[in-house]
């Protein structure tokens, strides 16, 4: 065994870990080799120095500091909340997932079954005499109040579902009623005082009807479904309506004292409404969009005059 081999074994030799044969080999070598003997002694002293080092006393403040730094085992509130909500994950997460699914399904069911959200047939919305149609994409309330802008938008508008929703929202109805009142002086500017009062009264009634009495699914799209027009003077109203319809090359058939059948060319329908409005009359439900015309291009209205 050479010097390097012996020196590699010195640590194990001092630990008493060598088997008999290698231990004797180391001992034999060290007896004969002064340098390896010196290395062994130095290594022994090194280990002795290390083992002789005393333990350092722990500062008394250390334990206190550690215990002060340790928070109660219960943990912070958010951890407790998180633990309560999510742990054990394999139990609570599936439950939460199922609950979320059920809530979602419930929401969809409610959405579909609620009449407010269900699809409705087209219906007109406006009781204001001047209006012809309702902008389906009116972005805001201000736009709705702006009658001129509304009229422009109405020319481009084709959708009617929004109009249905709008009709049902009281806030928007109020806006419509306000707009109606606002426009009253303008629209009635050329009317006689008595007619003006009558027109204003009828408009107010129209607004109230619009607000309170309009049935949810009301529509004039169906031919011959009754359309109401409130007036205290049926004879004068019939005369005026007849005049308007005739001017538009339509026909008026007086069925009863307060029941008229109007046949108006579809193209002239908006003019009919405008003229009606200008005369201070409003129909209920409001008829902004023309009902479905006949193959001949004629719109038929069943108009009942109510006191």
């Amino acid at each position: 065994m050479g010097c390097q081999d012996v020196r590699n074994q010195l640590s194990a030799y001092l630990e008493g870990e060598l088997e008999v044969a290698p231990r004797r080999a180391v001992e034999d070598h060290v007896r004969q080799c002064v340098r390896c003997q010196g290395e062994l002694v130095l290594l022994q002293r090194t280990i002795a120095l290390l083992r002789g080092l005393d333990e350092v006393e722990v500062p008394p403040s250390l334990s206190t500091a550690i215990q002060a730094g340790v928070r109660p085992r219960r943990g912070r509130w958010w951890r407790e909340v998180a633990s309560w909500l999510f742990f054990p994950i394999h139990v609570k997460l599936p439950i939460q997932a199922v609950a979320l699914l059920l809530v979602s399904l419930g929401a969809v069911y409610l959405y579909r079954s609620a009449p407010e959200f269900s699809p409705q047939p087209p219906v007109t919305t406006e009781s204001a005499p001047r209006s012809e149609a309702v902008p389906s994409t009116a972005a805001g309330r201000a736009d709705r109040l702006d009658l001129a802008a509304r009229q422009e938008a109405a020319e481009k508008s084709s959708g009617q579902r929004e109009a249905q929703k709008e009709r049902k929202v009281p806030e928007q109805e109020d806006a419509a009623a306000r707009a109606l009142r606002k426009s009253a002086p303008e629209s009635a500017a050329s009317a006689k005082p008595a007619e003006e009062r009558e027109a204003l009264r009828e408009r107010d009634i129209g607004a109230r009807v619009l607000r309170k009495e309009a049935p949810a699914g009301a529509t004039i799209a169906a031919p011959l479904q009754d359309v109401m027009l409130e007036t205290s003077d049926p004879a004068r109203a019939i005369a005026r309506i007849t005049e308007i319809v005739s001017a538009l090359e339509g026909k008026v058939e007086v069925k009863e004292e307060r029941h008229l059948i109007l046949m108006i060319p579809a193209k002239a329908y908006s003019h009919f409404l405008t003229a009606l409005k200008d005369s201070g009359y409003a129909v209920s439900p409001p008829t902004e969009s023309p009902p479905a015309p006949s193959p001949e291009g004629t719109v038929t209205l069943s108009l009942r005059l109510t006191p």
Partner: protein, 207 residues
Amino acid sequence: MELSNSVEMTTRAVISGGGDPDHDLVDRVLGGDRQAFASLLARHQKRIFNFMYRMVGERGAAEDLTQEVFLKVYEALPGFRKAAAFSTWLYRIAHNHCLNALKGRGREIAVSALTKEPANGNPVTALVDPSASPEERLEQRELQAVVQEKLAELTPEHRAVLVLRDIQGLSYDEIAAALELEDGTVRSRLHRARMELKERLRGYLEL
């Protein structure tokens, strides 16, 4: 040598042995018993503090690191699997934390330890013979300071095995578990560390 033997016996009594009493304390701590944590602390803080002191060579830094280790242990306690002795697990955390701190602080700790903490830190009183003359005692204290100084010059990996084996008296198995090394690696690393320290102390050891 008697002292080192007694240290080793004490260490082994705590570290090994069936029915590790620490396991019961751990359970109690997890159940919210803060007194049990105080007991764990009392049983182990001295050895961890000494390990840190020998590793970094400065009491203040050793204090900080010991505190950090026990706080870390407290937080990690729910993850302690009782397959090993608590003390082994504790040493593993302490060793890793110490190496990270040494890497983070570079050589700052080790270098400061060489000069700032001479024998008046009372680390090596066992080497001081009470019956020795004042001159001899001064010489012994200086030698103790030199040992700490040369220890600090080793790599942290070599220093750790020397501290655990020759100063704290852990078995090879315990060291292997604490440092997460193979048993043979512990032995060879220990031998190289001893030989390196011997070379650094040569001038002081030769008579």
